[in-house]
Amino acid sequence: MHRNLPQNKEALLKSYTTRLKEDVKSMLENFEEIIKLAKGENDSQLNRMTQIEQDTFEMQVRAANIVRAGESLMKLVSDIKQYLILNDFPSVNEAITQNSKLFRTKQQECDQKLMSLRDDIAADLYDLEDEYFTSIYK
């Protein structure tokens, strides 16, 4: 299915792939980091309470990162949908042909109806004209 896409389109599609990978990676990494923090193996120079506070904040930031990556994935899905809708020319062409077919048949129908209507009216008009002009009341 890979046709000769223009350069920027190709780049855009690549960027979608990288965004997907990055987001998933970020989710995984952040999760791992949270688990590591929960283990608490690292010894540092800091005071214990400070260390705990720092860990708390770090975990929160990492959790928020996971959420952000999730939302970014949703955005990616939406972007891909949008890209597909805007650039899916075969389906657009199909819609156009379908529409034009629909309108053509409608036009034919209307034409036919108008024609028959015109014929009827013309016949009636002839009779009415006859009647009107031969009557005394004008």
């Binding site: 949270i34 923090l37 929960a38 608490g40 214990r48 309470m49 705990i52 506070e53 860990d55 708390t56 770090e58 975990m59 929160q60 990492r62 959790a63 928020a64 996971i66 959420v67 999730g70 939302e71 949703m74 939406s78 949908k81 949008q82 890209y83 809708i85 805007l86 389906s91 657009v92 819609a95 156009i96 529409n99 015109r118 014929d119 009216i121 013309a122 008009l125 002839y126 004209e129 006859d130 002009f133 031969t134 005394i136 004008k138």
Partner: protein, 642 residues
């Protein structure tokens, strides 16, 4: 036991051999004295080591101790110092420390410069629990953040699901299927112009597609729960394309002066707003309205340009958003662009009252024709006649491409390049419209005025915007089989073409009177021929007839005609004279004249057969439905033997 062997038992060499002389004699070192031994061992003591460590080292084994002693021995022997030197140094250090300790203790005791406090030993025990609690708290905070995010996603999803919220992408897909869209950086931009359909109008029809805020959708949904679901899309149309527009076409009698004309015409009743303007319109309607505005603008711009370029005998005027063109003398065609973009809402009531004073109404047919004409132009812009050249520009017409092979000259090429502009075409249509209306009016009034021969006109159902056709039958009631005059009038743009019964073709101008006169002439001609036909049926003889009588007063239109009929046995005569200005006069004469008296000049009786003087018949007092009926009765009466 007698043969016992002497066994020499030697004590092991306890002393180290200092030297072996050449004769094999070993010279032993003198064993260390007790004091020396003590000094040597004392030298080996490492005072820096604690008791435990010292023991540990001892347990490790003698060998390491031996190696160490060997190493330590070197400085012992090498240093020519006093052997107790190291011990003394250590002791001195110890003394110094003890002194320092004693000083510290004494200072601490004073409690003036230093206080000794006990060290808290519990810290080590509480450490794991604090950490566990801390981590638990941290994890729960992180989990809350995650849950929050999940909750937000789920909430938006469920809201869309349960409340039937419209999906942006589905709407976008529908929009894409109907309109041209593309993505420019972060925005979705659409195009509603007729460019792809062949328009060459410079104004762009760009619109922007955005996502409608969810609160607004929810609000709209709560407002009308029964109505159609609101769209998740929002379409932003440039302000110059907003609102409603249409091309108004008015045909009106020429005003006294231009000023009043423009005044009254500027008060074209502008269209109201679209239904439900207050609420958000659906994008499809909004875009269609905008497209219509664009189309009307293009149409008007084109017409205005043509109006300026065309050099008509009476120049067309373009004033503001109005074009004035003279269709026929005294009749103007006003083409105006009405655009109500909902911003300049000048009071519609005043406009309406003034508009109603204006008798001429907006002509929907001509407006439709204008639309059709522009669409035809668009179509021809994109649909070039075949064959398409493999190289070279598309566009020259078929005739033009044939001009080369056919060796067309300059005149022919100039003729080809002439194209009818939209304005010319619409003026022609308006002219035809007026011609048709006028002919209709003339025919109807004549039919009303003239009762005796019936005038029946049939309008042809097949016609074009600039051509129509009417067939007129002139006949008398009850005598339509005997005689009937039919003629056909082709109504064109500025002229009428009349094809009469005798095959003569007459071209008439746009003046009403000409048609009127023609029809009147035809009526009298019809009467004359009909009388002759009735006479023939009755067995009467046509003695003479003339359609262009030279006698009598000069007629304002046409000529007087007459005919003379004789009864079957020839004793009666009827003379009919028809003058368009007077009407029909009928005279009768009797052959054996009743009032024949023998005079001195005419003495013979035979002269009474010569026929007498004609006497006029008072037609209006006769019985009979119409002229022919009267004539039939008259003939019947006269042909019966007295």
């Amino acid at each position: 036991m007698a043969n016992s062997v002497n066994i020499s038992v030697e004590a092991p060499i306890e002393n180290q051999i200092q030297e072996i002389t050449y004769d094999g004699q070993e010279i032993y070192q003198a064993p260390l004295s007790m004091s020396e031994n003590l000094a040597r061992l004392a030298q080996k003591i490492d005072f820096s080591k604690t008791e435990d460590e010292f023991c540990n080292i001892k347990k490790e084994g003698e060998s390491s101790l031996d190696v160490k002693s060997e190493e330590d021995k070197e400085p012992g022997y090498q240093s020519s110092l006093w052997p107790w030197d190291s011990v003394r140094n250590k002791l001195r250090n110890a003394l110094t420390e003890v002194c320092v300790l004693a000083d510290v203790l004494s200072i601490a005791k004073e409690k003036r410069y230093m206080v000794l406090d006990p060290i808290q030993a519990e810290q080590i025990e509480s450490r794991p629990m604090v950490q566990v609690y801390g981590r638990k708290k941290a994890l729960s905070a992180a989990g809350a953040v995650l849950l929050n995010g999940v909750e937000r996603l789920r909430a938006s999803e469920t809201m869309r699901m349960t409340r039937n919220m419209p999906d942006f992408h589905i709407d976008l897909l529908r929009l894409r299927q109907n309109w041209r869209l593309k993505k420019v950086s972060n925005t979705i931009v659409g195009d509603l112009s007729y460019r792809t359909a062949g328009s060459k109008f410079s104004q762009t029809g760009v619109f922007e597609v955005t996502k409608a805020p969810e609160e607004q959708i929810a609000q709209a949904m709560s407002m009308n729960a029964t109505g159609p679901a609101p769209s998740a899309l929002r379409v932003t149309v440039p302000p110059e394309l907003q609102g409603v527009a249409f091309i108004s076409v008015l045909c009106q009698k020429e005003q006294e002066d231009v000023v009043t004309a423009t005044l009254s015409s500027s008060a074209l009743n502008c269209p109201g707003t679209l239904p439900g303007e207050g609420a958000e319109l659906h994008w499809q309607q909004k875009l269609e309205a905008a497209q219509n505005v664009l189309f009307c603008k293009e149409l008007f711009a084109r017409l205005a340009a043509e109006a300026v370029q065309l050099d008509a005998s009476i120049p067309h005027m373009v004033v503001g958003n109005q074009i004035m063109a003279t269709v026929l003398p005294g009749i103007q065609l006003l083409i105006g662009l009405c655009h109500n973009n909902g911003q300049n809402n000048n009071n519609p009531e005043g406009v309406k009252s003034e508009g109603s004073g204006n008798k001429s109404e907006h002509d929907h047919v001509l407006e439709h024709s204008l639309h059709q004409l522009l669409r035809a132009v668009h179509h021809s812009n994109t649909h070039h006649p075949f064959p398409h050249p493999a190289s070279g520009p598309l566009g020259p017409s078929k005739r033009r491409s044939l001009a080369g092979p056919m060796a067309a000259d300059r005149y022919e090429l100039l003729e080809m390049s002439k194209e009818q502009s939209l304005l010319e075409q619409i003026i022609q249509q308006a002219q035809h419209f007026f011609m048709r209306r006028r002919s209709e009016y003339v025919l109807d009034t004549i039919a009303k005025e003239v009762k005796d021969p019936l005038i029946v006109s049939h309008w042809n159902a097949l016609n074009s915007p600039t051509q129509s056709c009417v067939k007129i039958n002139i006949m008398a009631y009850g005598y339509d089989a005997v005689c009937r005059t039919s003629l056909v009038v082709h109504v064109g743009e500025k002229t009428l073409k009349c094809i009469c019964r005798d095959g003569k073709v007459r071209h008439l101008s746009y003046e009403l009177q000409e048609l009127r006169d023609l029809i009147y002439c035809q009526i009298y001609q019809h009467q004359m021929t009909a009388v002759q036909a009735v006479g023939r049926c009755m067995g009467w003889q046509l003695l003479a007839s003339s359609s262009h009588l030279g006698s009598g007063p000069v007629e304002p239109l046409g000529n007087a005609s007459s005919c003379l009929l004789a009864s079957p046995n020839g004793d009666r005569m009827i003379a009919i004279r028809c003058e368009p200005s007077v009407g029909i006069q009928v005279f009768i004469a009797q052959s054996p004249r009743k009032d024949f008296f023998v005079s001195e000049l005419v003495q013979d009786k035979k002269w009474e057969n010569l026929g007498g003087a004609f006497k006029e018949v008072k037609l209006e007092k006769m019985e009979g439905k119409n002229f022919l009926n009267k004539m039939e009765l008259l003939m019947a009466c006269l042909s019966s033997p007295l």
